[in-house]
Symmetry: C2
Subunit: 721 residues, 2 copies
């Protein structure tokens, strides 16, 4: 595969263009001999030798700088933008100057440990004066970045001299101007000595009246000379933008495969009388090999605390629990304790720790649920009645959505004793962090004050920046985005309800481009609350389709236990599983299902293996939709440049999915192959990572996807020689 | 015409909805007796009695306030947003709180003279938590505005009590909660005494066990009670946003019809030898009656300074002027003087003043051109050679776009002596301001540093806030928008090149919605530099179509002399008039053209009369595109609410244009009549202000527009009884 010239100028690859004499270099500047700058804390397509920036100082007190630097991205607002360790982060800014003279733009990064580096932005020439580069950040913590723009005096001269000498206009003048520029550069003491000497020699040649103009023109067009000035531009009017901060969090904040399970179901057994004995943390350890073996990295548990007995819900959300009904784990708190306690049926704190350790040994991290609400018998209710709304009749207000009431739950009223409630919630989180839990899936954060989350997450992360919070807020976009901005590391999204091709193109493009500076999606395919009509009525192909998209379109996705068993029967009229695990134990025989060929586990295992092997799939912002002629064939690519990849090799995946689970579709797909550096029309080899099939593809390709056999191609673009 | 309920809640109009007992009011609160607040410095649909805001103070140091107030608009960035005196300004903010409790949002305005007022925002219920109102600002200067959000305790109770009492759930509890709320309100000393007594009475009735629940429900649903709490809400958790500034400029900054003329052509006469004697300011006064009579408000003159003789351009931009060629007025400066001098052929400074006075007497304001560049014989060149780029060969650099050169012009190099150049440019502007010129059309501002314009405009406006600058920058969007943000009061746009229906819908929607907080378009239909192919080849209908759109789609538009004579012959291969007035005198007989029926002047006169009579057309942000089934029939409306209109009556204009100048088109147009308060399906009367025809219209109407007779309907919606 050829390198992407738009992303990584490669003098060797572009030598010999039509305008250029392709014989020996005309100039005598040695080609940049030193290795490109590199670092253990970043990977870059555009790193430059580090030089200080000396800003031009205006005589006039204006907001506008000499060269405007507008709309810096990652987007800074009231909160710092976010990235994760290993993420390829686009640094972009709108920059321009008056008139025709050329400018250049750099971004200066400083790592949390203080390592400074300089990277050159490319003009996108998109009509909007956007400059952009990408850098992979490998150190956790607050990075600072600032953009620097400058008049690119060499490039301005080169552009004019090229046109004018070729046109026979002002050749002696342009040669003299060039000689002066090169002498000015040669006087800069931070250029290598050999280069400085070379520049002086070239200046002399440009001034040499015996040198024909067409030879001078070869110097003007010399690629090595241009590359030298790209690495160390000759600058004036240097303008330095504001210093901005980018909060780089640990990798799992943005890149992991999640699996949700109810520990009480894992190892639960039916007694002879038909009743069920609960699974425990000890028995649930038995499921961890299965989860880890499928390639997941996070195992998420719904609340593990004592469950209220007052107004306990029965099976299928009935108002009265029957004897033996375990109740909803979201009705937290009973005489055995509240948010810092373990449900006795699950075991002890030691058992929980054993579970966490067993998970860790298998490469799994445990995520807990943080559901800040109380069952009527939660100890808070008696110890802190001031945290709840007491009605004029002396009762405590249930959760309600008038006229509906949720009588097994009391919501906290954060305005009655903010200081007390804030402190208690922090205590609860600290308690679990102390048990080794660093990931919290937060239940319904949009029903608590936004202000509280800002405070809690900032306070926890100041003590331990490894703690990650996932927002389960299925609500209005402004609220979901605000939760992400104030601190949540991850967000559930509307992914489960985006099932058609146009919906998915718009949705995934928006997630990866518009909001990625602050909001990271976790694409759960199902949850214990969500069984969409697409899954209810799409049959097994639907499960395969949704898993493939979730696992490849974004670097974080999740599956709730039972998905691999195609559990697709809903409680009538609802979008939840019938006999929902929230209200009862579920007995599942994972091995038998797989042995009989009735499990999606092998496919999930394959998807996670593909994710692990392909760094392009561990990125969010590189999602690019491509065109197909069929209204159900979704096509997208994920590309990571060689310079940005941990393997040092470019990685490109093309996903083609038939999102209609009831049909066989065939169509043409049309790819913008320049995204991975292949000129339109050129052939390249692809391998289907699901089936192992290999094809030669171009920018226009025929596909046939049979939902009933294999609705998905996950194609790896093989490197060309 | 009915009022728009979405914009102005009208208890009387909405009384008797299905949910409500329509007999006498259930509550005994007196209807708000006092007049709605009003003021000479604003008009509002939503003004409230002024009350102080007592902000809730968080215990925790967070960026997020108790009730988030995000994305306030008018949009505040590095520069304050802008409006003009008489503009209906949308004030909007994204606000929400956790859970289901209801909130309210106010905007508190303070006029430049210190008058404070309070206006209630409406929840748009757009899914994006947007709250919005509109206020017309009538005082020039810096207004401040800040949003205030609060828990609307009455509305929350009313919503729950309505649902629960009707459902027979918790009725005594809801009644007691209501009684307590009303007593809390009655304790507020800034409510009228009669209201406070009434609230206490209602509280007693709610508590009266003898009062049946369905009567209590009538109290809950009582409109007068709700209106009282709309005017003076019962608040808690009050959150106050940042104080922001809105720069309200004088009306002409945003609302005027412009006419461009070359004074040297007005009164120019052909001598017996065929040569032409220049018009003068004195002779040009003779044209002012014609311009004023057409209804224009601004007369704009290209540069009036001495014109360079060195490298003077000849007719049709030829490189060598012939004897008698007057040269381009943009090649400014000769031995007679520079930017502060008057071209001797035009007369003296006294003559210019006489012209300005004569214009003023006719209701016309004079705008001058500000073209900051020098002919080679400009006095600056000898007095301040340090302001120009001197090349290594000792010559001064011409303006160029390599390899093209513009040899009649030297550009200033602002980086060589910024202090000197800045001071001189300020001196030039002050000179003309002292002559009574308060409007400057700035030539090519994008070829000078953005920073300079920020400084110049701020400095001039600090001395005289009436001075208006129009940016003639036909360049990239980022640059055009940046010029507007840093201070330009108006901007030329790409209007001349937006001629198809889809282009115009997108373009005019964007101008009126996306950028209106800082950029105001001046929709010139032609200029001395621009004669588009649409006008070249569209015949007389094209002139009519473009003038009608420009005059009605935005409050500021312009015409360059000759448009009314349908001058449509271009220099071959160019988008400029042949025999361009920039390089020669133009002799035109305005009266003869009109007498023979070959002038568009009567139509322009009609358009300007319609603009003057219809305040809706004096607004920018009320442009709304509507649908038609034909790809060339453009439909849009401009509506101004009665409460916002200087007449006290609502004003609604519907414009329907056939933008294909070569055809007769007939189609259906589909209107969102709710924009002007008519429910879909209801009929309303319209009068065509061009032809006087009257029709009864609904939301779906047949139109037939013949480009060759009358391609435009400008319909006024007549008020219904």
């Amino acid at each position: 595969m050829t390198k992407n010239p738009a992303k990584r100028p490669n003098p060797a690859a572009t030598r010999g263009s039509a305008k250029e004499d392709s014989s020996a270099p005309a100039a005598v500047v040695p080609p940049p001999a030193e290795a490109r700058p590199s670092s253990p804390v970043w990977r870059s397509t555009s790193a430059l030798p580090l030089r200080p920036a000396s800003a031009w100082h205006a005589d006039h007190d204006t907001v506008t700088a000499r060269i405007p630097l507008l709309g810096p991205r990652p987007e800074a607002g009231a909160f710092d933008p976010k990235a994760y360790v290993g993420e390829a982060v686009p640094f972009a800014v709108t920059a321009f100057r008056e008139g025709h003279d050329l400018i250049g733009v750099h971004v200066r990064l400083t790592s949390p440990a203080g390592e400074e580096s300089l990277h050159r932005l490319e003009a996108l020439k998109d009509g909007f004066d956007t400059w952009r580069t990408e850098v992979v950040l490998l150190e956790q913590g607050d990075w600072t970045f600032r953009f620097e723009a400058f008049a690119d005096d060499f490039a301005t001269w080169q552009h004019a001299a090229d046109l004018k000498i070729a046109a026979g206009v002002d050749a002696p003048l342009m040669r003299e101007m060039g000689a002066r520029l090169l002498e000015r550069a040669a006087a800069e003491t931070d250029r290598p000595d050999a280069e400085r000497a070379g520049l002086r020699t070239v200046a002399k040649r440009l001034r040499d009246a015996a040198l024909p103009d067409d030879t001078a023109l070869r110097i003007v067009r010399d690629r090595a000379l241009a590359e030298e000035f790209r690495l160390r531009p000759l600058t004036s009017l240097v303008t330095v933008g504001d210093e901005l901060t980018l909060n780089v969090e640990r990798t799992v904040a943005g890149n992991a495969a999640w699996y949700e399970l109810f520990p009480r179901s894992e190892g639960a057994t039916r007694r002879e009388d038909g009743s069920i004995s609960s699974g425990t943390f000890r028995t649930a350890i038995g499921r961890l090999d299965g989860v880890a073996g499928m390639g997941f990295q996070v195992v998420y548990l719904p609340p593990i605390h004592p469950i209220g007995r007052i107004n306990r819900k029965g099976r299928n959300n009935t108002l009265e629990a029957q004897p033996g009904d375990p109740g909803s784990p979201y009705a937290i708190g009973a005489r055995e304790g509240g948010h810092d306690a373990i449900h006795p049926e699950l075991g002890t704190l030691e058992d929980f720790r054993a579970f966490v350790d067993a998970a860790r040994e298998r490469g799994l991290e445990v995520a807990l649920d943080l559901a800040l609400q109380a069952a009527p018998d939660h100890p808070w209710v008696t110890e802190h009645p001031e945290w709840f709304t007491t009605l004029p009749d002396g009762t405590i207000a249930y959760a309600e959505n008038p006229p509906k009431k949720y009588q097994d739950i009391y919501p906290l009223n954060f305005d009655l004793d903010p200081a007390g409630i804030y402190a208690e919630m922090l205590r609860v989180v600290r308690h679990w962090v102390a048990q080794g839990v660093k990931i919290f899936r937060v239940d319904n954060p949009h029903t608590k004050p936004l202000q509280f989350w800002e405070w809690l997450i900032a306070t926890v992360n100041a003590e331990d920046p490894d703690v990650v919070f996932l927002a389960e807020a299925f609500t209005r976009p402004a609220v979901m985005q605000a939760l992400a901005r104030v601190g949540f590391q991850q967000s559930y999204t509307y992914f489960t309800w985006r099932n058609t091709k146009p919906e998915l193109v718009e949705f995934l493009t928006s997630l990866s481009q518009d909001t990625a500076d602050f909001m990271r999606p976790n694409l759960f395919v199902n949850t214990h609350d969500i069984l969409t009509e697409y899954l209810q009525f799409g049959g097994r192909p639907a499960y395969r389709i949704r898993a493939a998209i979730a696992a490849t379109a974004a670097p974080t996705y999740g599956v709730y236990a039972g998905y691999e068993l195609y559990e697709n029967v809903a409680r009538p009229g609802s979008e939840e599983n019938i006999d929902n695990e929230k209200y009862e134990y579920k007995l599942r025989d994972w091995d038998a299902a797989e042995a009989s060929g009735n499990s999606l586990a092998p496919f999930l295992r394959r998807l996670n293996a593909i994710r692990a092997a392909h760094p392009a799939l561990q990125q969010l912002r590189n999602f690019r939709a491509h065109w197909s002629d069929d209204d159900a064939i979704l096509v997208y690519s994920k590309h990571l440049d060689a310079a940005l990849s941990p393997t040092g090799r470019a990685d490109t995946i093309i996903v083609v999915v038939n999102v209609d689970p009831h049909s066989v579709r065939q169509t043409m797909v049309h790819l913008d192959t320049r995204v991975w550096g292949v000129e339109p029309g050129n052939a390249f080899e692809v391998e289907d990572l699901i089936t192992g099939a290999r094809w030669s593809w171009t920018d226009h390709n025929f596909v046939r996807l049979d939902a009933f056999t294999e609705p998905v191609h996950i194609l790896h673009v093989k490197e060309t020689k």
